[in-house]
Every structure is written in C-alpha cells, then in structure tokens.
C-alpha cells in the first residue's frame, strides 16, 4: 500500500507549533492562497468566513457564508450565497496603503487558535516609501452570539505621521463570478453604519451593522463615506513611533431568515450598538468555546501532529454546527468554500452526524429536522421517478429538491457536455438518512423526537425502497438496477451491494419501528399507518423484499460490489505509482468503468455500518480484497476513515494509521489538491469516527458501551467524551491498558 505523504511545501508552511491547539502559517506564499483561506476559516455555526485578508489580494477567493442563505442565479442551480464582505479594513501608513502586493514584508505569521477560533496575523511591513509598522490583525466570530463578528487591528508605527483606517461593509461579493446580491439601502444610525442587501432570486434580506473605534493616538479625522454598497468609515490618527494604535470593528449580521425583512436593519443596528466591546466579547466567546471543547475534544497523547490535526478537524465541524437553526444542514464543503455550491450530501448523515449525535445531540437533531422538514420534497422526487415514499435528493439545498447539476461542460469540446448521473440514479442516500435517524435514536434515546419525527423518515424511506425494488420472476429475487453506489467511478450498475443491503436494512428497520410505535405510541402508529398507507399488503411486500433482495456472498466470502465487478479489468495500484491524479483521471471516464479501481470501498462502508450483520471473517476477507483496489490517495475523501476503522477491527494497526492520517490531513495538508474549494467535512467527521470506532473500538449495546482499543504505535493515551441517553460518558484509553 502506498504510504501517506503530505505535501511537504504546505506542511512546512503550516508548521508545527509546540502548542497543540494552534495552526500556524509562518510565511506568506500566494501559491497556497486558496488553500490557506480554507484552513483559516472561522465560524460559529451561523456564519463562517474564509481566511482572506482584510486588505484583499488580487487572486483571493474571499467568502463569507451563512447557513440557509441560498440563491439560484440565471442558468445555475441554487447555491450558497457569498454574503456581503464584513472584513474590509485598509490601513494607510503616512498615506501609503498597506498591501502584501507592495512594499516589503519583513515579518509574517498567522495563527488560528483552535481553542477559541481567534485568527491573528502579525506583519512587519515597510511601505514603498520606507514607512515601517508592525501590524496585528485579529478576528473572531462569536460562539456566544452568532450575530456578532469582531475584527481588531493593532498598529505600532516606527514613524511619526498619519495612520488611516478605512473600514467598510461591502455588498459586492460574488460566487466565482456569479452575482447573487442586490443593494437595497445603507446609512448611519446612532454612530452605527449599516448595509442592507437582498439575494436576487430567493429574496433574502441581509443587514450588516458596523461600529468602529480607535484607542491610542489622536484622531484627526473621522468621516463616513456613504458610497452605495460599500459604506465606509475613514479614521485618521496621528501616530508616534512605538506607540500602539488599536482599531476595533464590530459587525452585527441579521437576515430575513432570523427576523422579518422589515426589521433586519433595525435589529442589526440595535445589536451592534448593544454589542460588548472586544475584550468582553472575546471572553464570552472563549467561555462558549471552552464548553464546546469540554464535550468535544479528543486527546491523543504521544502524536502531536495527529493531536493538532484532530482538533483542527473537530474545529471545522464545530464552526459549522447549526446550534440554533433546524432549517439548515451542512454542505459537503461546510461553510468554507465554493465547492459543491454549499449543497448537502450523504456526507452529513454517514460521516459528520455521528460526531454530533454522540457529542452534541441537539445539533444532530437540528440536522435531522432539516431532512424531516423536506420529506414532501423527497416524496415529490420519488413520485417523479414513478415510486412511492420518500427519496431524498443526492444534493440538497434550501427546498430539498434535487439540485445535483445534471451536466457540466467538457473543457475539450465546446459542443459536448458531460452528464452527472448521481442526481438521477443514485438511490442509497434515503437509507443513509434513515440510518442516521436510527443511530440518533439509539444513542440519545430521544423517544419523543423519534415518535414525533424520526419514525416517519424511516417508514417513508422504507416505502420508497419497496416501491423501487424490481422483481425478477425468473430468478425469484428483487433487484435494484441502473444505480450508482458510493463508488462513483462506476455508474449505471446493477445490484450495488451497498445499495441493496442498505435498502434491506431500511425496510427491516421500518418494520421494527412500526412494531415499536404500535407498542409505545399507538396513536402515532395509527396516524402514520393511515397517512403513509402502511396497509397489511404493503407490509407484506416489505417482508417479501427483505427476504428476497439479491445480496450474494461468494463462497470465498467476498461480496461483489455490483453485478459483473469481478469481471472488470484488474488493476495493480502499485504499478500506477507515482501518480498525482485519480485513477479515473488516469483511465478516463470510460476506462474507469471497465476497471476494478474504485473511488471508495462500497462494501467496506456497508460492513462498517452494518457490522452486526456480518461475521468478522467476512469483514477481513473483504478488506483484503478491496483495499488493494481502492484509490486511497486521489479517490474519494470519504474512504480513508472507513478503511482505517475496518483495518483496526481486523488488527492491522499500521494500515489503520496510514488511512487515518489520509483522512485527518485531507485539508490541512491538501492531500487531494482541492482544499481551496473548502473543507472536506466528511473527512473531518470520518477522522473522529476512526478514532472513536476504530482506535478506541467503541460499541454501544443495549446494555452499555464497550471499547476495544488498538492504538497506533506511539500513542500513549486516547480520551474523549460522548453522551449516551443524555448521560456523559468518558473514554480514556492508556497504552498500558490496551488489550
């Protein structure tokens, strides 16, 4: 197996700090600009901002995203809107404007403190005319108050003369060239500057309010520049050598998703006026973060790099966790980049949700409520495909309709388009959602929510799978043909093992749920039976599909990924090394269909999710079979964490650790070269699962929890917490305690 090699350039750049809670960048290299913008994203579960610079940079991908603020532009599917920019702050030293594109950068250091989400940058800059100053830029978005954003700039000049600060709110954001915002209004009230914009199609009003102040030095000018769509405040201070000047910018954000549209401005202005000053706000933020980490932290002793990367991954999940909103979900690229347009995939339910289900059940419930509230859209999709029940979309945004782009242009031929099939023929996501619902219920014991909402999801997705099943009278079996499994290198396949088995699981679980409801909540059982038409005939069909679904295991124990997979051309991954592209890119779209190389190991994913249904030996056999056929390096970022867990289960600690690092460093080291598009949320969630269900070997049983640790070499201790039935549990594995 190819070993994991981080991109050394980036690793060096994001250097190792003795502090296990910080990510550092010790020099500025525009070559890594987009990657570092992703890495230095900060957020609070309501809004998040990429690590773009206050003063701007010409090749930047500056962006702020807020959950639920979607818009559909001309000829585009709906996408998460790049919100107005709250960062703009220009500093002029004696009339020369600070910029990394001019002058001399004598010192540079950027630090993200994972403990509290404080992003700091220290520069020592000399202007083209020779004016020097140390400048420290700090920012955080408050975890204590989702609407409060803070930015501070310290300037310590080495000259005497004017220092000017220009702080703005800017409504001209675009999504890689596509405009979603329209200017509505702006002004100044009670010393607070506001900007109101509106998304063009979805008509969401967005108000920002800004309050600025300076400390130190003597203010010689304080102007409001009332320029449309970029209201600005310009403050000039007389500076003296060595005397620090501090500039504070506080911004409050509200949208018409929070308050009625006619109140967005007044709410934001009032909020900004009442918002605490920097120090107090930072302390409140720190307290909120301390509470988060108390629940969420994973301690890995003996492996500093992994420890820091682990926290980085958890930080990425925590900053996009919707704590106060059950109408939103997390996109595959979180709120940290333009990748996948902010759309939600199964990445949430299978990869990110377990972390929340175990450590922050209210967040998990919000995420599941998002799906529950979109059952009608899922029903419409099932109907459109001639089925019954609820079929969740492969990509989901605000409405829950299918938003997978069906085509993308072929760069090599102007008249050609490449078809994206997942939105049409992928059907496993409904079972994935149902799986997450049952997992939430099992872990939390939240019967009230499950009766009220969760059960309906499982029953109606079950209904979908029964209606979608194809009966083969010759072979006397049910099949699912013409689908795509998780491994997207092969589409239009028949009887994808993952899909067939998860459908069976969904139907079986639906029957159990209905039985449970009849016993525990008979009125609800009756209501759902009526509303979803769960007639005896329908349930008989479910049982028949469960019994006769096609899911073969070869005598040797291998589960064929789909009909005919074994007959595809073999592939020898080692012979393809070294490579810097996926096997799909290497073999082409058609060539990949003909070969056994897979983007991610469907069968292992299935065995992971339904471990209890399989003999450990089957798991081992399938790992041995599929691991060498998987594109671990440039295939799906979802695969490595799962491979790591299975490797743990079968005692291959070394391989488990290799896979784990691929997941853990996916973004920090930009393993796939696309971290600039945003954080791989699934990989972050997968890394947590690898530690908890792999290295710690946590299993929940009706009687309690068990662990079965297999720590990587060098790890002396592994500790984390989670909640079972509302009770906090602590896991603390020391090397000497390992079995």
């Amino acid at each position: 197996m190819q070993s994991f090699r981080p991109r050394s350039t980036t690793l060096t750049n994001t250097s190792i700090n003795p502090n296990l809670w910080t990510i550092e960048e010790v020099s500025f290299d525009p070559q890594y600009l987009h990657h570092q913008e992703t890495i230095f994203t900060i957020g609070n579960g309501y809004i998040a901002t990429r690590g773009a610079f206050e003063e701007g940079y010409h090749t930047e991908r500056r962006a702020t995203f807020a959950h639920g603020v979607f818009d559909a532009a001309r000829n585009y599917n709906t996408e998460l809107v790049n919100m107005p920019d709250w960062l703009p702050l220009s500093v002029c030293l004696d009339r020369e404007r600070f910029s990394l594109e001019r002058g001399t950068l004598e010192k540079y250091r950027r630090t993200l403190d994972l403990r509290n989400g404080l992003l700091s940058r220290t520069v020592l800059w000399q202007s083209p005319n020779g004016r020097c100053a140390t400048m420290v830029f700090e920012r955080f978005v408050s975890l204590a108050d989702p609407h409060a954003l803070y930015l501070r700039c310290h300037v310590i000049p080495e000259f005497a003369g004017p220092v000017e600060f220009r702080a703005a709110l800017d409504g001209h954001s675009d999504n890689l060239g596509v405009v979603h915002l329209r200017w509505i209004d702006q002004g100044e009230r009670d010393g607070v500057v506001y900007l109101r914009t509106r998304t063009r199609q979805s008509q969401i009003d967005i108000a920002y309010a800004m309050r600025v102040e300076t400390h130190g030095g003597r203010e010689t000018k304080h102007d409001f520049w009332d320029v449309d769509d970029r209201p600005s405040v310009c403050i000039q201070v007389d500076a003296r050598p060595g005397e620090e000047i501090v500039f504070d910018k506080q911004v409050s954000v509200f949208t018409s998703r929070d308050v009625p549209a006619e109140h967005v401005v007044s709410t934001a202005v009032h909020h900004s006026n009442a918002a605490p000053h920097w120090q107090e706000a930072l302390e409140q933020n720190n307290t909120a973060w301390a509470n988060e980490w108390k629940r969420s932290d994973v301690e890995l002793e003996g492996d500093d790099e992994s420890q820091r990367a682990m926290r980085f991954n958890l930080f990425q999940l925590l900053i996009v966790a919707p704590r106060h909103d059950s109408r939103v979900n997390i996109g595959a690229k979180t709120l940290s980049g333009f990748g996948y347009h902010g759309h939600t995939f199964w990445d949430t339910e299978i990869f990110m949700l377990p972390f929340f289900t175990y450590t922050a059940p209210p967040v998990a419930r919000n995420l599941l409520d998002y799906r529950y509230a979109r059952l009608d859209a899922a029903r419409a999709k099932a109907r459109a495909n001639g089925c019954e029940g609820a079929q969740f979309p492969w990509e989901s945004a605000d409405t829950g309709e299918e938003v997978t782009p069906p085509w993308y242009p072929d760069p090599s031929n102007r008249t050609k388009l490449i078809r994206i099939w997942t939105g049409d023929i992928e059907i496993h996501i409904s079972a994935d959602v149902a799986y997450a619902v049952r997992q939430y219920w099992q872990v939390t014991g939240d019967d009230e929510w499950f009766i009220d909402r969760g059960a309906e999801v499982i029953l109606d997705t079950g209904k979908f799978y029964a209606s979608r099943a194809e009966w083969d009278p010759d072979r006397q079996r049910y099949e699912y043909n013409d689908v795509i499994g998780p491994d997207e290198y092969h589409d239009h396949v028949n009887n994808n093992a993952y899909t067939n088995k998860m459908a069976q699981w969904n139907l079986q679980t639906a029957l159990e749920v209905l039985e449970w409801l009849r016993a525990e909540a008979p009125a609800k059982a009756e209501e759902l039976t009526q509303r979803l038409d769960l007639s005896p005939e329908r349930l008989a069909l479910w049982r028949d599909v469960i019994e006769k679904i096609y899911f073969p295991i070869t005598p040797s124990g291998v589960i064929e990924q789909f009909d005919g997979y074994f007959k595809l051309k073999p592939v020898f991954m080692a012979a393809l090394e070294p490579r810097d592209m996926s096997t799909q890119q290497l073999f082409g779209y058609e060539g990949s269909q003909e070969r056994q190389a897979i983007k991610q190991p469907d069968v292992l994913m299935l065995l992971y999710l339904l471990r209890d249904q399989f003999d450990p030996e089957i798991i081992r056999i399938n790992y041995e079979f599929y691991a060498p056929r998987t594109d671990h390096t440039y295939g799906s970022s979802l695969g490595p964490a799962i491979s790591s867990i299975i490797a743990c289960w079968i005692g291959k600690n070394g391989e488990a650790y290799e896979h784990f690092k691929r997941a853990e460093f996916a973004d920090l080291c930009d393993v796939r070269g696309n971290a600039g598009d945003g954080i791989h949320g699934a990989s972050a969630g997968g890394a947590w699962q690898a530690v908890v269900f792999g290295f710690a070997g946590l299993r929940l049983t009706p009687e309690g929890c068990t662990t079965h640790a297999c720590l990587p070499d060098g790890w002396s201790r592994l500790a984390f917490r989670f909640f079972r039935y509302g009770e906090e549990q602590q896991v603390n594995v020391n090397r000497e305690r390992q079995d």
Copy 2:
C-alpha cells in the same frame, strides 16, 4: 395578411412629438423600464450606454458596452462586457436622496434628440419630507471624441438648504449576474478621479477618469470618497429657492485596446484634464453629428411617424458604427443590450452593412476588415469540419472562433438541454460575408482594398463551398445536406435553396474575381493562387459545382425552400390569429419542423440578393407563395424589410408599407416584446434598405444608378444620399414625379 399593430401602451408612452428629430417619453412606468433603456441608448461608435437613470432603479438593466471589450466567464461563452458604470450621480435635497422609488414625481419627461444624441430628462420631484426641485439630467457621448462622455444636472430648488451631488465611477457592473471585471486601482490626480479595472479572462485594462464641477450656489463641502471600486466625489452646495445649480461630470475612457495597459490611467487622466467643458464639447459633438446626418439622413415627407422612426433606426446604426477601429464588428443587438452576448451574425453583412457601404464606406471597410482579419479562425473552423477554405462562424466575437452557445437549459426539465445547431451546421454566412465584400467593392470601387483584402475573402469562402459540396453520383448533382438556412424553424434540412444558390454565387464570383485579379493585379493573383492553392484542378471543381449544384424551380415557378418543404403540413396563418407568440412557440420545436410556417422567407431573401439572376415573374410567384407562410409578426425581425422590398418590386405598395412598418417600429414599439434585450440592428438596417431599394427602387448598374419609386400612400417626398465610386449621389423622389 395580418396588419401591423404597434403595442398601443408603448406607442402612447413614446409619444409623437411635432419635432421629427426627437423620441420622447412623457411619463415614467417601470413596466417599460428595460424597453426604454434600450430606446434611450446613446453612443458614438466606440462606446454606448443604455438609458438607465443616473440615480439607479432596482429592476434596471444598466449597461455600458464598448466595441471589442469581450470576456469569457466560467462556463460561459465569451460576451461583450458590461463596462464600469460612468453614470452614477445622486442628488440629495436637504439630505434626502432623489429617487423615482420614493417621494412624489410631479413632472417627468425624457427626450432623445436624434440630431446630436443628447438625452435629457426633466423631473419635478417632491421628497418624502416635502422638499421640491426641478431637476434636468442631460448626457451625451461625444461623436467628436470617442473617449469623452458628458453628464450634466441642473437643480432648481424650491427651498433653501443644502443640495448634495455625489458622482461616482463604479466598477461593479455585471452581465445579468455574471462578473467580468476585477478592480485594479483608483485614485485622484490633478483634481481628476480615476478608476482602473481589468476583465478577468481577456485581461483588458479599462481606465475611467472623472472631472466634476458646479456652477451656481455656494460650495460648502467638496470631498473625495476613496472607496474601492467606486471612487466618488461629494459636493454640497447651499441652495436658494429658484436659483439654478448646475453640476457637470465629464468622464474619459481608455482601454488597453487603445493604448498600452500601463498607460490607460495616465491617458484617461490627461484626457479628462484636457477635455473641453460641457458647452464647447456639446458644440463639437453637434458639428460631428451634423456631418453624419448630412450623409446619412433619409427624408420621408408626409408620414411623420415613419420619418421619426426612420431617423431613430439610422441613429441606432450611427451610434455603433466603428469609425476608428477595424478590429471590431457590430453585434446583432448593437451595443444596446445583453441579447446575444454582443455577438456578430450575418445581420451585419446582409442587413446593416449596405447602409454603411452606401453612406459611410470607411465604416463599411472597418467592418469588413474585421472579417478579413479573422480568416485564419474561419479556416480553422473549416478544417475542424473536414473542409477547406474559410468558414465564418455563425456567431463571432473577439477571436473569430465559433461562439454560438451549443446548448441552453430546458426550463421545464432540469436534466434536459436544448441543442442550438446553428454553430454546427449553418453554412450560408460565409457567402453572406463574400456578398458584402463584393457589394462594397461594386459600390465604392475601392480596388486597392479589394485587391489587398477583399478578394481573398471571396476566394477562400468559394474554396470552402467547393470542398463542402456533396456529389450525388446517382443524380449527378452537388448538394448541401444537413444544414440550416436563414429560416431557423427548420433545421437539419437538405438543399436549402438560399444556401445552395449563394454557394453557387460565391464560387462564380470567386472565378470572376480571380480573372479580374489576373488582369488588374497579377502579382496578387499569383500570390493568392499559390497561398490558397487555386490550382487548375481546383478551379475545374469550382466550375463543376457551379454547373451541377442542385437548385430546382418547379414548373409553376416556385422555388422549394429545401427538400421536402412542399410536403410539410400546410399552415393557415390567419387561422392562428390573434396570437402573441411565434408559430414556433405555438407548435413547439418539433411541431414547427413538420409545418410550412417559416421564421423568415429564405427564398425571398435569395431573390432580393440575387435579383439579376431571376425573372421578375419568378419573384412575384415566390412572394405570393411564401408571404402567407411567413411568421411576419413574431418570426425573425430580419424578414419584414425584405418582404417589404419584394412587395415594392411587384407593385404591392400596401403590403410593402405594412412590412416596412414592422421593420421600422421593431424596437420603438417593441413589436416582438424583446427590445429590452437590445436594438434589432438588422431590422434598423433593413428599414433603410426597404426605403432605398424598395420604395425608391435604387439599382446600381455599371453605367450608373436608376430608381423606380413606389411611395406608400401619403408619402409626398423621399430623399437620401449615398456615395458611388466616392462621389456623393442624391436621390429625391416626389410623388408627382413617380412613374
């Protein structure tokens, strides 16, 4: 035949003014905003600006376009860039900002003076707090200096208090939501404010420089608001009731197409500093316009509506005529809207060019030079299609590559796309270009240009048609199969009459040109013979194609539009009335293919262009046959002018006038409901041709010119000028003189 009915609402709005040189709007109705923005476009052949308001309006389609400034955005074909906005001017009356969206509009009138391109708007507005003022906004883009733009605002307040003017340059323009510009720099030099932006893909630098001043009142504030990408000047004046304040804004524009990129700012700043003030600039502009009209005007006495509309159409052509640039062409929607992305079609050569060829040969030559310079791109297109010679693209932008969008999304189904075939299988445009080249040569006698450039176009397009011809050995004839003719309701047709005959004409003309060259410019003939490989074998093939090209005429004299047209389902246009959509929309894409209803009369277009090759009786028979099958009202805007001319030729004066009005009022009355997308340049050019070649019946012969007038009822006089062999000719037809 259905008679022409203008949309009364718009006609009323654009009311009839006794002055035959003005277009007026007497009330403001946002319902017609986009249409009126198009109508009130001003320009000077270098740049043009839609009639958007200085202060903005939320549903506007504000745009400024400059010839040649194209850019290709992500997933889009290249398009003409919406340039930075030079109009922004906000007026605040006692701190209340003037807007048509607030307060009370007590008077409103907008006037476009076609004599000099001066656009004026007079409003009497009362602010929400009761402050009243008369405001007059005037603007023009100088025809005397293509880089100089002028805007003036008069305020006559009815109150005492501050009046504030905020003038800006704004780089945030987008093309219906797609961003092409990136901010580069801005500042203030010598009292002039500048803004520099750059197109994102094509990397064209654009610099605007702005100079402002006030007259009357006492200035109490004069600030420069240095806000990124919208540098602004804010001037406050103490106003007294009844005392006029005048605010002047001059803007200079240069791009890196004009001067080296590093000089765009300094050139613009210097130009603005040196630019004459309003009155002097206006006088220079008026002189330049007077010269244009002297050459170009068409006088129609006895029909004021047509007279004004005629001048409006000519104005539209004059404001986009590239007088100083041979690297650009005119888009189908001129520079007045987003329609067709600023792309050039055959609309130029067949519809707009004759006006320039006859009245402004240097402009015509510039337009033809654009094609000549793109011969290599046309050759590449021919090669890509397995042919030889030069095949011009159906849609052309900066490079001359094919830029027809191959697909557009089906609004009714997210997975479906509708194929646009013109970029692939339409082949008549090469002959259209060749036709325009020969027409220019014939009318101007510009042998030097023809030898140097024009001949090569005709020879190489001829080469294309010979290589593209398909020999049918059974029938012993050449065919062009699987094409689209001008009538786009039928695609993938065989032996389109227009295409086949124009190809034959092109080949015949190529042979004649080569013979002429051999006699008149033997060195050039030799060079082209070598370079284009015009071997005896090739010329023999040309003669063979000319002789054996399939072009049947039925015994009754009707020319079938394409193979099988006669067998299509008949259509009775009268039975479809009243309708408010095209027959294609009515019958659907497939249904239109099966029916005889046509978008424009291919055969009549052919008979128009090659009149000398056909018996007048054939022309009459085909008019009688095709007129009732043509969608005159909602089909192509190219058709009516041609139908009008043919109707003149066969003595159907009444019908000729009906068709003429459809062409002449296409935009002024928004006959097709899409004038908001921009001026139909071909219709404007067609209207001129209808008057000159239809009503006046002008024909050029080697011996001279003849007219054969058939004036519509009520027209007492028709007069215009043109140039033949560099000599000005005057045509003056009086009713009593008609034969």
